[in-house]
C-alpha cells in the first residue's frame, strides 16, 4: 500500500525474542513451551521472598550473537529494575537493561538493498502469562484470572530498530530478515504463533520532508500478515485523521485481527514512570574479549550471505526461484541444495525439491542426509526415477529414513525398460494418429500430451525425458 497526497509513513519495530536456552534467565528451571501450567517454576522465577537471580551465561552468549549478527557494539552493561504492578510479573518488577544495554547500534541489510538501523538489542526477562476467564476476557472486567508462571523468567532480547522503515512491506521484510538471523544464530526458533518472537510497531506519518509526526505503538501483532495489515491501517488512519483536521495522540493501540482495525489501549499523556534503578542483586555484565571472540568464532553464516551464495549458483534465477531461495534460506535447507549441486544435480532441480518436498517434510529433516538427498535427485536426473517417484522416495526418506536406492526398489520403482517404454509409445501413436501427425509437423506442445498419456498407462513410472527421446526417434 502507498499513502497518497505526499504522505509518508515512518515505522520503527521493537522485536522481542525469547532465547532458546535450556534453562531460564536467572534460575535452573526448564525453558520450554507447552508444559502443564506452573510446572517449570522455582522460588527464583516465582519471585518468592528471599530468592535471588543468577544470570544464565548462555543467555548472554545468545544476546551477544544477535548483536554481532546485527553489527552492534558489545559493551559492558548493567541490569535495572522496571517497576510496575502486574499479576503475571511475580516480583512486580521486571529485570531489564536500561541505559547500558549489552548491544548498542548496528544495522540490518534487507534483500531489497535497503538498510535499517538498529538502536539497541538488550536482555530482559519475560513475564508469566495471564488467562482471563468470563466477563470481558481482558484483565478489567473478567470474572477471574489464572496465571501461568512457566514463562516467567524466560530470557528475552528486545531488538529496537531506528525509525527507518517507510512501508509495511519493508517492515515485513525487516521482520523476516531478523527472524532469519535469530534462527541462524540459534538464539530463537522465531515462532510468532507461539510468542517466541513478538513485534510491536511504532507508526507515524508525515509529509515527506517534514520532521517525524506523533507516533502510536501498535501491539498484538501475532503474525507477519498482521504486522503488515496493522501498519497500513494505522498509517492510513493517521493520514485521514490529520487531513480531517485532527491531530494524532501518542498512545498504545491494540490490533484487532478479526475487525482489522487498531484501537486505543492506553493513552500516554506522559512517559510511564517505571522508576528504573540498578538491580542491586546482579553484578555488572562485562563479557571479556576472549569470550566475545569465542562467540564470534562460533557465529554461523547469516541469511544474507547464504542467500547470495545460493543465488550465485543459479543461472539468472526466475522470480519463482528467488522465492524458492527465500524459503530454503528461511528453513535452513540451503546445505542440502549445495550438497546436491556439488553432486552434479542441476541447481534448479535441487532448489525446487528443497523448497517443495523438503520444506513440506521439515519435521523429518534429521532423517535425511545430504548424501541421500543428492543421490535421489541424481536418480531422477538420470532417468532412473520419474519426478513423481523421486518425490515419493523423498517423502519416504523424510518419514522413515533409509537408503534411496533401497527405498526405490522396495516401492517397485524399477526403471521402465526402454523396450516397454518404446512399445507403449508405439501403441499411443497408433491410438492418436491426429496428435501424432501434428507433433511430427513440429508442434512440440504435443510432446506433453504423449508424456501425459504414457504416465497414465505406466502409473507415473516413466521418465519424461525418456518419453521425449522415444517420440523423437519415431518422428
Amino acid at each position: 500500500m502507498t499513502l497518497e497526497n505526499g504522505w509518508e509513513m515512518v515505522v520503527g519495530l521493537e522485536v522481542h525474542t525469547e532465547l532458546k536456552t535450556a534453562t531460564k534467565m536467572f534460575c535452573g528451571c526448564a525453558n520450554s513451551f507447552g508444559s502443564e501450567p506452573n510446572t517449570n517454576v522455582c522460588p527464583v522465577c516465582l519471585g518468592l521472598p528471599g530468592s535471588l537471580p543468577v544470570l544464565n551465561e548462555r543467555a548472554i552468549e545468545l544476546a551477544m550473537a544477535i548483536g554481532m549478527a546485527l553489527h552492534s557494539r558489545i559493551a559492558p552493561s548493567t541490569f535495572h529494575r522496571k517497576n510496575y504492578f502486574y499479576p503475571d510479573m511475580p516480583k512486580d518488577f521486571q529485570i531489564s537493561q536500561y541505559d547500558l544495554p549489552i548491544n548498542s547500534g548496528g544495522y540490518l541489510d534487507l534483500p531489497d538493498g535497503s538498510r535499517v538501523s538498529i538502536e539497541r538489542a538488550h536482555l530482559e526477562e519475560d513475564t508469566g502469562k495471564s488467562t482471563h476467564l468470563g466477563g470481558s476476557g481482558r484483565i478489567h472486567g473478567a470474572d477471574r484470572s489464572l496465571v501461568d508462571y512457566n514463562r516467567s523468567g524466560v530470557p528475552l532480547v528486545e531488538i529496537v530498530s531506528g525509525p527507518d522503515i517507510r512501508s509495511s512491506a519493508q517492515a515485513r521484510a525487516y521482520a523476516m530478515e531478523l527472524r532469519g538471523i535469530l534462527i541462524a544464530t540459534g538464539a530463537s526458533d522465531g515462532r510468532m504463533e507461539e510468542g517466541s518472537m513478538r513485534i510491536d510497531a511504532n507508526v507515524s506519518v508525515r509529509q515527506s520532508a517534514d520532521p517525524f509526526g506523533t507516533r502510536c505503538e501498535i501491539k498484538n501483532l501475532n503474525s507477519l500478515r498482521s504486522l503488515q495489515r496493522a501498519i497500513d491501517y494505522e498509517a492510513q488512519r493517521q493520514v485521514e485523521l490529520i487531513e480531517a483536521g485532527g491531530t494524532v495522540r501518542q498512545e498504545t493501540r491494540h490490533w484487532d485481527e478479526i475487525l482489522a482495525v487498531t484501537s486505543t489501549m492506553r493513552i500516554k499523556e506522559e512517559a510511564d514512570d517505571y522508576r528504573y534503578f540498578r538491580e542491586p542483586d546482579l553484578v555488572d555484565l562485562a563479557p571479556d574479549q576472549a569470550w566475545q571472540d569465542r562467540v564470534r568464532g562460533e557465529l554461523p553464516a547469516m541469511p544474507a550471505e547464504r542467500r547470495a551464495k545460493l543465488s550465485s549458483r543459479l543461472n539468472e534465477p526466475s522470480d519463482a526461484q528467488v522465492g524458492a531461495v527465500e524459503v530454503v534460506i528461511d528453513l535452513g535447507l540451503d546445505p542440502f541444495v549445495h550438497a546436491a549441486i556439488d553432486h552434479g544435480v542441476d541447481p534448479s532441480l535441487a532448489l525446487a525439491r528443497a523448497a517443495n518436498e523438503l520444506a513440506a517434510g521439515l519435521d523429518g529433516i534429521t532423517r535425511l542426509s545430504h548424501e541421500a538427498f543428492s543421490v535421489t535427485l541424481s536418480m531422477e536426473q538420470g532417468g532412473e526415477l520419474s519426478a513423481t517417484q523421486a518425490k515419493t522416495v523423498l517423502g519416504e526418506l523424510l518419514a522413515r529414513g533409509g537408503d534411496p536406492k533401497a527405498v526405490a526398489a522396495a516401492k517397485g520403482f524399477e526403471q521402465l525398460s526402454s523396450d516397454t517404454l518404446g512399445a507403449t509409445v508405439a501403441e499411443l501413436i497408433v491410438q492418436y494418429p491426429d496428435e501424432w501427425a501434428r507433433y511430427r509437423d513440429g508442434d512440440e506442445k504435443l510432446a506433453q500430451f504423449f508424456i501425459g498419456q504414457v504416465m497414465k498407462l505406466t502409473k507415473g513410472q516413466a521418465n519424461g525425458k525418456a518419453v521425449v527421446g522415444e517420440l523423437q526417434a519415431r518422428r
Binding site: P43, G47, L48, G50, L52, V54, N83, K91, D92
Partner: protein, 474 residues
C-alpha cells in the same frame, strides 16, 4: 548458659548431648517467651529431630561440625523450609517458604539446631522491634526498655539465655545496635561475605546476615560457618569462608586504631566515656591510637534514608496478594492489591515505601536517589582514605543505652538517629563489630563499635576479643 563453643565441644566429646542442650534451651524459652515476646514461632518438633540426628551421629563416632548441638535463634526474615516466616508482617500471614536460606543449610551442615524464628521490626525497618505486627520484644536486661532493632528478637534470645547464638540481619545497624543494647557481640560482615539467598530483602545493596552472641569466639565460630561463596547469590564474594576462629586471639599489637570524632558525636556522655576507655584498653594491648574526623559520615543517615527505602519500595512490591500471604478481596486485581497492601503493611513500612517510591520517581530521581548514590561513593572514598591512616576505626555503636518503650515511636527522625553510627559501614559495604564495653545509665550495657575495611573480620574480632578481656570476660 554455656557458650556455643563449649556446647559443641561437649556434644562432640559426649560430655553432653544435643538433646539435653536443646531441652535446656526450650525450657528457657518457655520460662520467658511470654514476658519478652522473643520467638514468633518455636519449632520444637523440628529442633528435637535435628538434635537427635546430631546425637545419633556422635554415637556412630562421626565428627559433627563446629556448631554440633548448638541451639540457635533465627531472625524471622530468613527462610526456613516449612517453617512460618513472617518478617513480623501481617502481609506474610500463613506463608511457609518451600526452601531454606543458604545460611540455614550451612548451619544444619555444621550441626546447629535451629530453635525458632525471632521477632523483628516489620521487614527489618526499625531500631527498637516496636514496629512488629506481633507486638514489641522486651529487653531481657530491663523489660521496660527496648532490645534495639531490627534484630531485637534475636538479641533478646541470646541475652535471655534462650540460645547461645542467633542470626540477625544488618541493613543499617540492625545487628550491632541491638547487640549494644542487649550487651552482646554482633557482627555486620563485609557485603558479600555471607550469602543473602533466602534473606527476605529490605535493601538488597545494604543487607547482610551476621551473628549475635555473648562471646567474641562464638560470633567467630558462627560467622565462619555461614560465610563463603554461594553460587545462588550473584553478589556473594568469590572466595571461601575466611579463617576467623584461628585468629581470635591475635590481639592488636602494632595495629593503628583511629577514634572517629563523628562516631561519638551526639552520643550520651556515658557512651563516649566507654569508647574512650576502650581506646585506652587497645593502646594497653599494643595498638597505636590516633584521632580522625570523617565529615562524610554526617551525610550517611540522609543517603541511607533514600537508598534503603528506594530499594525497599521495589523489593516489597511482590507482596501483592496474588501468590502468597495475605489477600484482601476486592472488585478487580488492582483494588485487591491496594486493599491487601493497605491491610498488610504497618505504618513504618508504608512510610518507607512511599519515601522510596518518591525518591525513584521521574523528576525527583536525580535530586534524591541519584544524589544519595553520589554520597555513597563519597562515603566509600572517605573510608578508603581513613584506612590509609588506620587499620581499624573505633566509635560508639549507638548514641545511648537501651531506651524505654515509646520513647522514639512518635518521632521517626529520633528513631532513625539510633543508627547514625552504624549506617556508614553498610553504605560502604564494609565490616564492623559491636562489642560490650562497660555500662552506663541504670547499669545497662554500652556497645563499642570497631570498623574495618572489607574482609577485615579476623582483625575486627581479634580487637573485639581484646576489649572483651579488658572488660572482664576472659
Amino acid at each position: 548458659m554455656k557458650s556455643a563453643a563449649q556446647i559443641a565441644r561437649e556434644v562432640q566429646s559426649g560430655a553432653t548431648s544435643a538433646s539435653v542442650e536443646l531441652e535446656a534451651s526450650l525450657a528457657a524459652v518457655r520460662a520467658r517467651n511470654e514476658e519478652l515476646n522473643v520467638f514468633l514461632h518455636v519449632d520444637e518438633e523440628g529442633a528435637r529431630a535435628a538434635a537427635s540426628r546430631i546425637d545419633d551421629r556422635v554415637a556412630r563416632g562421626e565428627t559433627v561440625g563446629p556448631l554440633a548441638g548448638v541451639p540457635i535463634a533465627i531472625k524471622d526474615n530468613l527462610c526456613q523450609a516449612g517453617i512460618p516466616t513472617t518478617c513480623s508482617s501481617r502481609i506474610l500471614e500463613g506463608w511457609r517458604p518451600p526452601y531454606n536460606a543458604t545460611v540455614i543449610d550451612r548451619l544444619v551442615e555444621a550441626g546447629a539446631v535451629p530453635v525458632g524464628k525471632t521477632n523483628l521490626d516489620e521487614f527489618a525497618m526499625g531500631s527498637s522491634t516496636e514496629n512488629s505486627a506481633f507486638g514489641p520484644t522486651r529487653n531481657p536486661l530491663d523489660i521496660t526498655r527496648v532490645p534495639g532493632g531490627s534484630s531485637g528478637g534475636s538479641a533478646a534470645a541470646v541475652a535471655a539465655d534462650m540460645t547461645p547464638i542467633a542470626l540477625g540481619s544488618d541493613t543499617g545497624g540492625s545487628i550491632r545496635q541491638p547487640a549494644a543494647l542487649c550487651g552482646l557481640v554482633g557482627v555486620k560482615p563485609s557485603y558479600g561475605l555471607v550469602s543473602r539467598y533466602g534473606l527476605i530483602a529490605f535493601a538488597s545493596s545494604l543487607d547482610q546476615i551476621g551473628p549475635l552472641s555473648k562471646t567474641v569466639l562464638d560470633s567467630a565460630i558462627l560467622l565462619e560457618v555461614i560465610a563463603g561463596h554461594d553460587p545462588m547469590d550473584s553478589t556473594s564474594l568469590p572466595e571461601p569462608s575466611p579463617s576467623l576462629v584461628a585468629h581470635v586471639d591475635d590481639g592488636v599489637a602494632g595495629k593503628r586504631v583511629a577514634l572517629v570524632r563523628e562516631l561519638v558525636e551526639g552520643a550520651d556522655p556515658d557512651v563516649v566515656a566507654s569508647v574512650e576507655r576502650a581506646t585506652v584498653a587497645l593502646k594497653d594491648a599494643g595498638a597505636t591510637i590516633i584521632e580522625l574526623s570523617i565529615p562524610e559520615f554526617r551525610l550517611g543517615l540522609s543517603a541511607y534514608y533514600l537508598i534503603a527505602p528506594a530499594e525497599a519500595s521495589s523489593n516489597l512490591a511482590r507482596f501483592d496478594g496474588v501468590r502468597y500471604g495475605l489477600r484482601v478481596d476486592a472488585d478487580d486485581v488492582t483494588a485487591m492489591m491496594e486493599a491487601t497492601r493497605t491491610a498488610g503493611f504497618g505504618a513504618e513500612v508504608k512510610r518507607r515505601i512511599m519515601l522510596g517510591t518518591y525518591a525513584l520517581s521521574a523528576g525527583y530521581f536525580d535530586a534524591y536517589y541519584g544524589q544519595a548514590l553520589k554520597v555513597r561513593t563519597q562515603m566509600i572514598d572517605a573510608f578508603h582514605r581513613a584506612y590509609q591512616q588506620a587499620d581499624l576505626l573505633i566509635g560508639a555503636t549507638a548514641p545511648s543505652v537501651a531506651f524505654e518503650f515509646g520513647a522514639k515511636t512518635s518521632n521517626p527522625m529520633a528513631m532513625y538517629l539510633s543508627d547514625v553510627f552504624t549506617i556508614p559501614t553498610n553504605l560502604a559495604g564494609e565490616a564492623a563489630v559491636s562489642v560490650p564495653f562497660g555500662t552506663g545509665e541504670a547499669g545497662l550495657p554500652i556497645g563499642v563499635q570497631l570498623l574495618g575495611p572489607g574482609r577485615s573480620e579476623a582483625q575486627l574480632l581479634a580487637a573485639a576479643r581484646v576489649l572483651e578481656i579488658a572488660d572482664g570476660r576472659p
